[in-house]
Amino acid sequence: MQHVSPVREPLVTGGKSYHDVTQDVCRQVEAAPNVRWMAALSVALFFLGVFLYSVYRTLWYGIGEWGLNKTVGWAWDITNFVWWVGIGHAGTLISAVLLLFRQKWRSSINRAAEAMTIFAVICAAMFPVLHMGRPWLAYWVFPLQNTFGSLWVNFNSPLLWDVFAISTYFTVSLVFWYTGLVPDFATIRDRAKGPIAKVAYSLLSMGWTGSAKHWSRYETVSLILAGVSTPLVLSVHTIVSMDFATSVVPGWHTTIFPPYFVAGAIFSGFAMVLTLMLITRVVFKLEDYITMEHIALMNKIMMITGSIVGVAYITEFFIAWYSQVEFEQYAFINRATGPYWWAYWSMMTCNVITPQLVWIRKVRYSIPLTFVLSIIVNIGMWFERFVIIVTSLHRDYLPSSWVMFSPTIIDIGIYVGTMGLFFTLFLLFAKFFPVVNMAEVKTVLKYTVDNGPTYTGHDPHHDLIHKPTTHGVPANAPVNYNKHD
């Protein structure tokens, strides 16, 4: 089947058989909800309530409920939008880019990461829609003639590009995620005891039987979806950054924005994946599937993208000085030393300095440190969006219109509320859907086979690696691992 590397760490530990994978992943779906899950869901639902109340206030009394003013025409709404969209990117990156690069370690985390993408994009979409003030007219953003005549939408506007980018991104991610879920739904269906579960998962699995022909097509579909999702995910955040970059506001009008935003998105996305995975693996007892190796690899990606973001911050400063445009220069000096200096330096500390700790092996392999780090990065990336948006807007060309922005309780309520929405969706997903892609994990399972003493493990966690084991393989089977590689 696959070549067993003598130097690489096993992807799944604990000597699992195929049946063990099914058992371990289905356990959570089949068991009655436990107290911890119920408690978490209650907290999430409370924040969902906060969200609904804030939305009601916004829609009933208008956008005046937000702290926006004449100069700062968008602040928390666009900050949160860009932040959530960015978080979503890691899921697609894990499922698409790592699939193209044949990174097999993605298999145990891609399902949850893709779910995270979808829920994050749902949260992100809330902000532009609410900022419209009259969301029931949201269909105006689509190319439909308006009610007064044959006037069309403006295809020259990055805000309209966003509409196309986000809707394509959302639907494509959803389809990609669902198609990957179908075989696993079939597994749950075939194990289901109750009549309701049988019918529900039968509907969800669309009659999947796992025939070789279907698998062959399924793999083709996954590969092409990955191939088109990879440029798609880059395009989405590029277009989001163009919302700013195509304007002439000092601090926004920079060509570095597209790659810098994409790197930032992957950075915050991986931080969120880490946060979620560290909790998921403990709560669902999936330590053998989401191993320390996975955490270290995700940490490394987070550090690399964090470094790219750091370079981007410095480049921005350099270019502001080098451009000799006084407004541009002022915008950056104001960011670092003006009234929002604390936001700027929080961003610098959280995004540039702390991720560098990942260079230390002990940090990379430490669960508490990784958890703290991932939260810090998420905070830092939120500040990055805030700094870019608010510090550029609150002082631009005309000193007489300079103002300070402060959020209202409704602004905060909507932001915190989307967390409630996100976690409600994620908790429901984790209860009723398989969190780990069983079919894909089974394909990489034979990596755990250690054929001899060639493997030199240095990590004491893997107590199994020195034992010659042949998990899932009958002793008398004619095994030839290199044959179909």
Binding site: M1, Q2, H19, T22, S150, L151, V153, N154, F155, N156, P158, W161, F164, A165, S167, T168, T171, V172, V175, P183, A186, D190, V199, S202, L203, S205, M206, G207, T209, G210, S211, A212, K213, H214, W215, S216, R217, Y218, E219, T220, V221, I224, L225, V228, S229, L232, S235, I239, M438, A439, K442, T443, G472, V473, P474, A477, P478, V479, K483, H484
Partner: protein
């Protein structure tokens, strides 16, 4: 229509791969193989033709691109020309993002809908499965049998090639 199948149950995919080669070499036609996960090279062993889905995907993508360009050029260039930022009516560079997104949109959805349609996958109340363990950890080779089939020989062939069980099952195909 009711069909009868002999089911060879295998515990390992490598054993299954050898069995497929040997069973086909013995001149027995394999109706279908059910596995819990995709197996590398099984399409070659079974003689499954390469899927033409990539061609379909390319076609859908081209449709999306053509549609996007037509839409933008017609709407902003001819139906209601507007001067926006002093740019020409048909500002092709500005049309690139939407054209790209719609190309991807059409490619993905067209291909996925085609995939479900040709594989006859759609939501249904109950799914008949030949052996429920084939979605868990067993690899099932189904061979259609009729009156002229020598079951003993078939069973022997499967067992000799590593099948841990050989079962018989009837299934009503709708």
């Amino acid at each position: 229509m009711t069909k009868r199948f002999a089911l060879g149950i295998f515990d390992d995919e490598d054993v299954l791969m050898h069995a497929i080669e040997n069973v086909r070499a013995a001149g027995v036609k394999i109706y279908e193989v059910f596995t819990p996960f995709p197996i590398h090279g099984i399409d070659d062993a079974l003689g499954i033709e390469r899927s033409r889905l990539p061609i379909a995907a390319f076609f859908y993508g081209m449709c999306g691109l053509a549609f996007a360009l037509w839409m933008q050029i017609y709407m902003l260039g001819f139906d209601w020309p507007m001067i926006i930022g002093g740019k020409p009516h048909i500002a092709l560079p500005a049309f690139i993002p939407v054209s790209f997104e719609l190309t991807v949109f059409f490619t993905c959805h067209g291909m996925v809908i085609t995939f479900y349609a040709i594989s006859k996958l759609y939501p249904r109340w109950r799914t008949p499965v030949l052996d429920v363990r084939s979605t868990d950890d067993k690899f099932v080779m189904a061979i259609e049998i009729n009156e002229s089939t020598d079951l003993n020989n078939l069973s022997k062939l499967l067992r000799e090639n590593g099948a841990s069980e050989v079962n018989e099952k009837e299934m009503t195909k709708n």
